[in-house]
């Protein structure tokens, strides 16, 4: 297979040694069907074992390997070197998150927000297992299926200008997950999530920049989830005002 020498410009940060992050360059002989992750693995195995980054599945389903590649958030296992311009590839940790070490970011804020939106089936009464499955037609499944596809890669948070400016913003992935449950015919937890979802730092801090949906590697379209919730939340608010049940 053909090898081509590609330059990687990687943002390093070792908290015990560095005051600030700095760029380190590597020349990597890349094969023609490599992804950026393959190049990083080459660096780690042959040139610099201290380079730290997260990765696992190499098939864009685990969500570990999100990072900034030439200024845009992407999965390094799904970004092909052949698709990038012919110059040094700039690799940095995901934007809008503190850097823990090299390309590893601190994800605590996201995890906390994910938990906050109550992303699980909430029912008044649980159906006994002996009665079998809840019936759910393909049409009912289609209503929320798209929003189940999030792999929690955090690329949307890195792209979102609101999250960059307003750290309290709950953010695209967490809100999309709330919408996923709200739309699931088996769930009755819309009201339970309402306080969190329609708080200022919930859907209303979203300015519909749509950057999240543009970068989402799984085409979840979190922006659509948020706008739909804005509408349903508003209608619900008016219904409430008029003394009608929310939904």
């Amino acid at each position: 297979m053909n090898h081509k020498l590609i330059e990687l410009e990687i943002l390093r940060y070792r908290p015990e040694q560095d005051q600030e992050p700095w760029f380190q360059n590597y020349q990597v002989p890349c094969e023609e069907d490599w992804v950026v992750l393959d190049a990083l693995n080459y660096v780690k195995e042959h040139m610099d074992s201290s380079l730290s980054y997260r990765w696992s599945c190499h098939m864009a389903v685990c969500g570990s390997c999100g990072m900034m590649i030439d200024g845009d958030p992407a999965l390094s296992c799904k970004t092909f070197v052949r698709d990038l311009p012919e110059r040094a590839i700039r690799i940095e940790p995901l934007a809008n998150f503190p850097i823990e070490r090299d390309l590893v970011v601190v994800m605590d804020d996201f995890v906390e927000k994910l938990e906050r939106v109550k992303p699980y089936i909430i029912r008044e009464e649980d159906k006994p297992l002996g009665e079998g499955e809840h019936l759910q037609t393909p049409a009912q499944l289609a209503k929320f299926k798209q929003y189940t596809l999030c792999i929690n890669c955090l690329c949307c948070y890195s792209a979102c200008p609101q999250y960059a400016l307003i750290p309290e913003f709950i953010g695209p992935a967490a809100l999309a997950l709330a919408h996923r449950y709200n739309q699931d015919s088996r769930d009755q937890g819309c009201e339970a999530r309402e306080d969190v979802v329609s708080a200022n730092e919930g859907i209303w801090d979203c300015a519909f920049a749509d950057a999240c949906s543009l970068v989402c590697p799984k085409h979840v379209d979190p922006a659509s989830a948020i706008q739909q919730m804005k509408i349903s939340s508003t209608i619900g608010w008016y219904k409430n005002l008029l003394g009608l049940k929310r939904s």
């Binding site: 992050p21 200024g71 289609a142 200008p161 400016l165 519909f208 950057a211 706008q227 739909q228």
Partner: protein, 133 residues
Amino acid sequence: MNAKPYKREIPKSTWYLGRRRDILHMLSEISSLFIGIYAIILLWGLTALADGPGAYQLFLQRLTNPLSLGFHWLALAFALYNSISWFNLTPKAMPVQLGENFVPGYLIVAAHYVAWACASLFILFISGVIANG
């Protein structure tokens, strides 16, 4: 403690200048400023109308000064930009599901243009009726 996370700051007032998509987004946001000012001008016009034909004529005359014209062209451009980009995004906010499938986005966008055209025609018609009647 060994851990010392590093926070990268972004410039709060100029962050969007680095990328075309971000600039366009900010322009879309800033359009609200122009549309807001236009709304105030309309209100001003309404009060002038209430004060009588003389006051209204004066208002119309003031509108023709070059600064005002410049503003109105700009506001129109922003309003169009905002409306068109907004219409293009409507399928996301209001998906229409038919069975297992979704109505294609372009149909929803088209429906908005049609509604806009109808609303505009209706207003023109009513203005015509009032002007002639």
